[in-house]
Symmetry: D2
């Protein structure tokens, strides 16, 4: 870490700061220029509060040189992490196709979708039982009953299941769930992340709407620092000024995450765009960008007035998307 | 709610949609123009999923006319909510000056600050015991011991205390805490909001970094719909492309919230800017914009090398700010 | 256009507004609900100022139903526009590979790059002669001399050239330039757009850093409404809170633009990311998303200390990217 | 400027880079740590392209220590700039109240408003003759005739006038205009800025919708580096995800600009919010934040159905706002 002091900082203040830094177990290296003095910090700076340093009146700016994330950092773990879920693998050249409905509704529905997406090439089944909703008056999901139905669909098809957890108190219900999803709104719910770290089960961590890539890595680090190394990162769009799509899908994070971390990266084009017509194109783009998996909404009931135009694809449309994604993967290599 | 259909939507699809809407207990009113058909929905549309409707392939767009928030809506409760906390009041013309250190460190420190800010005009004491930190390796606060020290400071000064809760499991520790703060990262932690709704204690709800004003009102509605009407809204800056300040303080939300809701609105200029030099100006601006209170970081220990330049004001500087704020309130009326 | 009035708007105010709208040559259709009155506007609403209407005190909100862009709207021109530039074509299934250095530096450099990128599959040569720079003290490009060198490279290779114009007064210098680029900072320089409309030459219009897709279409409309229909849209990233990349590449605009407009859409992954390592992945993603072309920085001088790590690719790296893009295009179909 | 190299950068590459930097006339100072080598640059680094350096493959990051803006920098010119316009002054403790309609419509209108706002305390008259409009089909202002009418209003009231220029070719029409406004969309129209630099007339420079404060200072520097030091900065809101207001007014820029630059800073609450109800509160907030002036839309014709609810205040409402602003200024001191 480098701390750049303001011009004309009194000698005494510099000495005080250096002492304070040394008290925290850090070595320091002073470099005095014509205008600025620069303090280089040596040692484990991960506990140093960058924000606090920056707000000191004698500090012009401070800058980390080494990354504050360790366990998820590719520098220290050059090999790709491969997360194994039943027969499915994600990462290290293994691609996961996660598909299913937004919400679990009925046994017939979820088993029907599960069979259809399995047929079409899905390797995991997704479906919401506990749904985060902006409004307290909106349908909040089937809850425990939804989990039960998902497990029935797993039993019927053999597909491992991914579903969202919002409350650590619900963990007992998730015992047979294969992958626990932490939603965008909880990406910095640090207490929940710590609980995830105590599990020995894969966690799919969605990017927060206003979260930088580095913050997302720090959230993965929360889980890993508690002992759970099976973390899957999921890009699902960030919030910007553009309103033509629900969020702005930030695909550059795929190759950048692959540089910074060894964790697998999947992309959710359904939530990112909120427009089913755009899901195929953005799925192809995500695969071409190097994603280790996709998470796509698929719905199987075209006879319902509401659903036949929703953001979900039909199983047939999904099958076509999955086939083309496979071909793009072959080109990308 | 108004649903605008795409041009040339087949009659049959319109009929299906109307039936589906009626099944949800809504009346409908069709208006057929040259190009577009518009469906007006009559009845309680708060349970209708606007996002889902919008993504239907026959829907051009959908638009709420009535607000989805009810309990916090000024239309239905024209009178200002006044939150009473010990001797302090917030809202309805009552101004709260909440001051204290970022983190509780020692008994001496917190009692010292508490006495100093009380002297300078503070009506509530703030201080962090449980600290949300981006990094798992950063200091996470004193926890239970921090709460204990805050309560000592309350005992010593009579100031009611405000402190952040991150985990519902910690609630027993907060029994004597006067106001529970829900931080920006948990503004859409709906499970935690529901727990807050079960309390009979004021909750200070901070705006999420990527949250719109309407979403913040929906989060307040989560708390209120569970029975707790003592909610205080707190603007603390939103995340934008500007990096010169830590966040961008959105002061227009103060008068806008006063139009939309009867809840009191306080402003936190310390976290919003991250620069102590800007705190006085932004405090004055917040008061001039009509804020019902301020939440300001104050630190009392100018002998520590680290602290004398931090984003906190000294008690003396705070006293000067508080005095000027009072004068501006007199002008604003 | 639909105008939703506030509850309890006095009859007289409604009548006044309807008269004012009629004075502007619009038909109106009133629909009176339990709470709200809705005015539907019939006729050419493209001249109506939506912002002004929205700010009227009796108006709850107003919403366009028909698109304000006409000439670039796919609804009215279902066929793809194909822009022909020498032997190159863009749009309607024709792909353009635009490559070259950020800035024109010397005759040797630009001819060298031109030959190398032609060899590697480029169909157009790019290079900056007039450079928009944040700082007045930064190198502003070779100007007229840069144009002269680009024309030499065109002569040597037969590649048509694309280069940026910042000032209409420089137009005489651009007579032999094949495609005029309007940069992101000038996307809403309406006076310059009008000048572009008077030309009979293709214009490559880059998206503004804070511009929505709809605003970009309106800027294209400025050019087209003056008579020039040869407009190429170029996505180059938008400004968001994320700082890991220079901008956030918004690839969802590719399929969405293809729905909304018949104009071709190219993508510039070099400027969007600012990181040369990410350019290949984002090029593949753009092609997979359906882009009609790419605009990639290529530099040919690996012996210069400065350049061998810059955001430009080498010709060899570019050739590999171009080949893989071609294969992805075959998969996408 | 400091350049931090990646770990394990080969000696030879470092030597190359140092040579290249020296070729540009810069001194260098190498500091070799355990992991990173840091190069400190000595001399005039304002011409160094930070973006280019950052994208070199051996560079971890680069950071300016000295500001790239010189002429507008308070460090080098500690005294406030006072811009004198007729009898009005802005900056250095002098407050300007700029008021008038959005667009000039008729002689009667503009003279009427001018008289009313002068009466109410305005010191300058604003009014649009050339209007930047997103749509080519929207009313583009009265143009030359609008300028003529503004000058009539100036003659009638003695108020100096402020109006927007969009095209340097129109400059002859602006000879008697007192202050030329450069709009948000042209803040980085560098060619236009250079033309403004050749004038000896005050320029009011509005902040671009996606422009950082530092970029705005660089745009002011463009004007000043051509010889015109009479620049007034104008905050008018930035573009964020929040849609409840038209833009997000970033008032923290007022005190921050006052630290960074000696130029006066005015605030436009009308365009920032787009909601007339919020203009009074945001005017008070801007004054409390230390603004050197306000720019407020005022319209005088309450008999027109359209106008009596628009984002403009009436002259009476404006008079009340102006009076309260004056009182807040007295408190702020």
């Amino acid at each position: 870490m480098i701390v750049i002091l303001k011009p004309n900082t009194p000698e005494e203040r510099i000495t005080n700061l250096v002492h304070w830094l040394k008290d925290q177990g850090l070595g320091t290296h002073l470099s005095t220029g014509d205008f600025h003095t620069i303090i280089g910090l040596i040692g484990d700076t991960s506990r140093v509060d960058l924000d606090l340093l920056t707000t000191l009146d004698i500090v012009e700016s401070a800058k980390r040189i080494s990354d504050p994330y360790k366990l998820c950092n590719r520098k220290f773990h050059p090999e790709d992490t491969v997360v194994q879920i039943g027969d499915a693998k994600i990462g290290g050249g293994n691609f996961a196709m996660i598909a299913g409905p937004c919400s679990v509704e009925t046994e017939e529905q979820i088993i029907g979708v599960a069979q259809a997406v399995k047929e079409a090439g899905a390797t995991l089944l997704r479906g919401g039982a506990f749904k985060p909703r902006t409004s307290p008056y909106a349908f909040q999901g089937l809850g425990a009953e939804g989990i039960r139905l998902l497990l029935k669909a797993k039993e019927a098809t053999g597909l491992p299941i991914v579903t969202e957890l919002m409350n650590a108190a619900d963990l007992p219900l998730f015992e047979e769930v294969d992958v626990i999803q932490i939603g965008a709104r909880n990406m910095q719910n640090f207490e929940l992340l710590k609980e995830m770290g105590k599990l020995r089960k894969p966690v799919l961590l969605k990017r927060g709407m206003a979260s930088t890539m580095k913050e997302m890595l720090m959230s993965a680090e929360y889980i890993m620092s508690e002992g759970n190394s099976q973390v899957i990162l999921c890009e699902r769009g960030i919030r910007t000024f553009e309103t033509a799509t629900r969020n702005t899908l930030d695909l550059a994070c795929v190759p950048l995450f692959h540089q910074l971390t060894h964790l697998p990266v999947v992309v959710d084009p359904s939530h990112a765009t909120g427009i089913s017509d755009l899901v195929p194109s953005m799925s192809y783009a995500a695969v071409a960008a190097g994603a280790d998996g996709l998470m796509i909404e698929v719905h199987n009931d075209p006879t319902h007035a509401l659903c036949d135009g929703a953001q979900s694809l039909t199983p047939d449309a999904f099958a076509a998307v999955a086939a083309k994604c496979q071909k793009i993967r072959e080109v990308i290599g």
